[in-house]
C-alpha cells in the first residue's frame, strides 16, 4: 500500500481506522482496515458496490459499530458513541430530507435540536441556503424541488452544524451527467471555503480523481491502495486498481512476459500507446510490439483501436483526434510503442 504525501505540512488527524472490521454473519463487509484521514482533507473512498466503502462511512457516522478495532475521530475512540453525539454530519445518497418540513425547517433541523432560538436558526438557515444558491426556496417542500436542489438542501442541512467532518454518501449518484459535473466543481469550492474534512464515498472513479486530495480504493472489504489521484492513475499498485481507476490494458501470463520480459501481470493505459507503421523507428527509451488492428471505434474526441498482439493478448489504444495522423484500417498490421516508464508492473 503506498501512502499519499498530503501531509507535506504537519496536519492533525481527523479520522482514523485502527484495524477496523465489520462483519455481518460470515460476510466481511470491512475487514481489518486501517487508515488516517487528515484535517481539511478531501478524501474519497472509491470502490464497486459491496466493497466496504459505504460501511466504512457508516462506521464513521455511527450508524454501524465495528465488530472489532476502533474508529477514532479527533483523537477520541468512538466505540459505543451514538451518531447524535458525534461531531460529524452526513449527506445521504437519497438526501433523506424530511418530507413533512419545508426547506428552511429541514436545514435548521440540527439547530432546532440544539435549541437555538427560532429567529436565529431561520437566519442561519437562510444564510446556508444562499451559500448553496437556493435563496428564496425556503418555504418549499422537498417534493417541490429537483434532484439537484434537494442535493443542495441536504448539503446545507449538514453544513449548518459546522461539523468537523462531513460525510458524503454518493451524493451525486442520482443526478444527470451535466449537473453532476457542475456539482463536482461546487462541492470542491464549498470544501475549500468551509475548510472542513470531506469524506466522499463514490463508485465513480472520475468523481474521485477530479475532486479528492487522496483516494482509497476499496475492494472486498479492504483497501487496495490509498494515494493521491495522480499517483493512483499513473502508478496503480494492483491489477484491481489498474482496472478500476481509468481504462487499462491488463496483460497477464505469456503476453505479459513477452512484453515486460519478466513474470507477473503488467498494465498500460490506452492513451500512452502510440500507433506507427510496421518497421518505424522508435525512441531509445521505448518498448514496442507488433500487432493487427481488429476493431476501430470512433468516439469523437478520440478513436479507440483494439489491436491483437503477435505475442498474444489484446490491447486497446486511444488516439486523440487532434489532426491527421497515422490512421490504420481494420485488419492492418501496426507497430505499437510506448515509453518504458509507462508500463506498470502490478502486484496481485
Amino acid at each position: 500500500m503506498s501512502k499519499g504525501d498530503a501531509a507535506a505540512t504537519p496536519q492533525s488527524t481527523a479520522v482514523s481506522f485502527r484495524d477496523v472490521s465489520r462483519h455481518y454473519g460470515s460476510v466481511k463487509a470491512v475487514d481489518r482496515v486501517s487508515f488516517d484521514i487528515l484535517d481539511g482533507e478531501f478524501f474519497a473512498m472509491l470502490g464497486p458496490s459491496g466493497s466496504g466503502k459505504t460501511t466504512s462511512l457508516r462506521l464513521i457516522a455511527g450508524f454501524e459499530q465495528p465488530t472489532s478495532g476502533s474508529v477514532i475521530i479527533h483523537g477520541k475512540d468512538m466505540n459505543g458513541v451514538p451518531p447524535y453525539d458525534r461531531d460529524v454530519n452526513t449527506v445521504f445518497q437519497d438526501y433523506a430530507l424530511f418530507p413533512h418540513m419545508n426547506v428552511v425547517d429541514n436545514v435548521a433541523y440540527g439547530l432546532m435540536i440544539r435549541k437555538v432560538p427560532a429567529a436565529e436558526r431561520r437566519r442561519q438557515a437562510e444564510e446556508m441556503l444562499e451559500m448553496v444558491a437556493l435563496g428564496g426556496f425556503g418555504q418549499r417542500k422537498p417534493s417541490q424541488l429537483s434532484g439537484g436542489q434537494r442535493q443542495r438542501v441536504a448539503l446545507a442541512r449538514a453544513l449548518i452544524n459546522h461539523p468537523s467532518v462531513l460525510l458524503l454518501d454518493e451524493p451525486l449518484g442520482a443526478l444527470d451527467l451535466k449537473l453532476r459535473e457542475q456539482m463536482q466543481v461546487e462541492l470542491k469550492a464549498i470544501q475549500r471555503r468551509v475548510g472542513i474534512t470531506f469524506i466522499y464515498v463514490t463508485h465513480d472513479q472520475g468523481e474521485a480523481l477530479s475532486m479528492s486530495d487522496r483516494v482509497a480504493v476499496f475492494n472486498q472489504g479492504h483497501i487496495e491502495q490509498m494515494a493521491r489521484p495522480h499517483e493512483l492513475y499513473e502508478n496503480p499498485a494492483t491489477a484491481f486498481v489498474a482496472g478500476f481507476v481509468g481504462v487499462s490494458n491488463l496483460l497477464q501470463g505469456a503476453a505479459a512476459r513477452a512484453i515486460s520480459g519478466q513474470d507477473g501481470a503488467c498494465s498500460i493505459r490506452p492513451e500512452k500507446i502510440y500507433l506507427a507503421t510496421p518497421g518505424s523507428a522508435v525512441p531509445a527509451n521505448a518498448m514496442s510490439v507488433a500487432g493487427r488492428v481488429t476493431t476501430i471505434l470512433y468516439l469523437g474526441a478520440n478513436t479507440r483501436y483494439d489491436v491483437a498482439l503477435e505475442s498474444g493478448g489484446e490491447v486497446t489504444v486511444a488516439v486523440q483526434n487532434r489532426e491527421s495522423h497515422f490512421e490504420p484500417a481494420e485488419g492492418e498490421q501496426v507497430l505499437l510503442w510506448w515509453e518504458a516508464r509507462h508500463l506498470m508492473r502490478l502486484a496481485g
Binding site: G62, T90, F98, G110, R157, N161
Partner: protein, 307 residues
Amino acid sequence: MTPSSSLSNRLSTYLFNRPNLVLCLLLLPPLLWLGVIYLGSLFSLLVQSFFSIDDFTGKVVYDLSLNSYARLFSATNLAIIFRTVMMASAVTVICGIIAFPLAYYIARFASGRTKALFYVAVMLPLWSNYLVRVYSWKLILAKEGAIHWMFNALGLGPLLEWILSLPVVEGSSLSTSYIGTALTFIYIWLPFMVLPIQAALERVPRSLLEASSDLGARPGETFRKVIFPLAIPGIAAGSIFTFSLTLGDYIIPQLIGSSRPFIGQAVYQFQGTAGDIPMAAAFAMVPIVIMAVYLTIAKRLGAFDAL
C-alpha cells in the same frame, strides 16, 4: 391468418389507438355502481329526511319540511347522539394507543416470518364471523365469564365492582356496562387502526431516522419530530375507520352494554319498528355530518400534510 385472429388483431389495434376509450370501458361499470347505486341512494336518503310522517295515519307525507330535524334535536335524541360520539371517540383513542406500538413493531423491527405472523394475527379476527366474535365477547364479559372470574380469582373482585359502580359506567357486569361495549368495539375495529398506521410507518425510510440522529436528535426527539408526524396520516386514516364504524354500528351496543341506544339502533328502530323512514333518514344523516366535520378538523390540523 384465420379470420378470427385477424378480427381480434383489428380489435387490439383499434383499442391500442384509442386509450381514452379503453379507460372509459374500464371505469364505466364502477362509476355507474358508485354514482347511481351508492351516491343515488345516499341522495334519496337525504331527500327522505325532509319528508315527515303523519301522526294519525302513520303514512309518509311527501312535503318538504324540517320536521324530522326538529325532532332530532329533542333531548332524548341529542343524548343518543352524544352517547354515540363519546363512545366512538373513546374507542378511537384507545385503539390508537393500543395499535401504535404494535404497528411500530411490525413496521420497524419484525421481518420475514415474524412479520407474516403479526400480519396474520392482526387480520385473523377479520376472517371469522362478526356475530360470532361479538357473542364470544358477551360470554367473556359476562358476570360468569372469564374476566369476572379472573378478577375474583386474584382477589380483585371488589375493585371490578367499584369500577362498575362508577357514574356513567353503571352496570351489574362488564357485559351490561359501557366498558364492555367499548372493549368489544376496540377488539373488533383494532385491525382497521393497526394496518394504516403500520403502512404509514413502513413508508418512512430508515435514512430519515439516521439523518435525524446524525443531526443530533436523540431517539425520543427523532420519534417526536420525524416518526410521529409521518405516522399521522396513518393514524388519521385508522381513526376514520374506527370512528365511523363505531358511529354506525347497531349490533354491538344492542348485544353488549347497558340497553341505552346508539345512533345505529335509533335508525334501526325508526325504520323498522316505528316505520318512520323520514326520522330514520334524519338520524342516518348525523354520522355523515359528524364525519364531514371530523375530516375537516383533521385536515385543518394538518393530518394529511405528510401524505
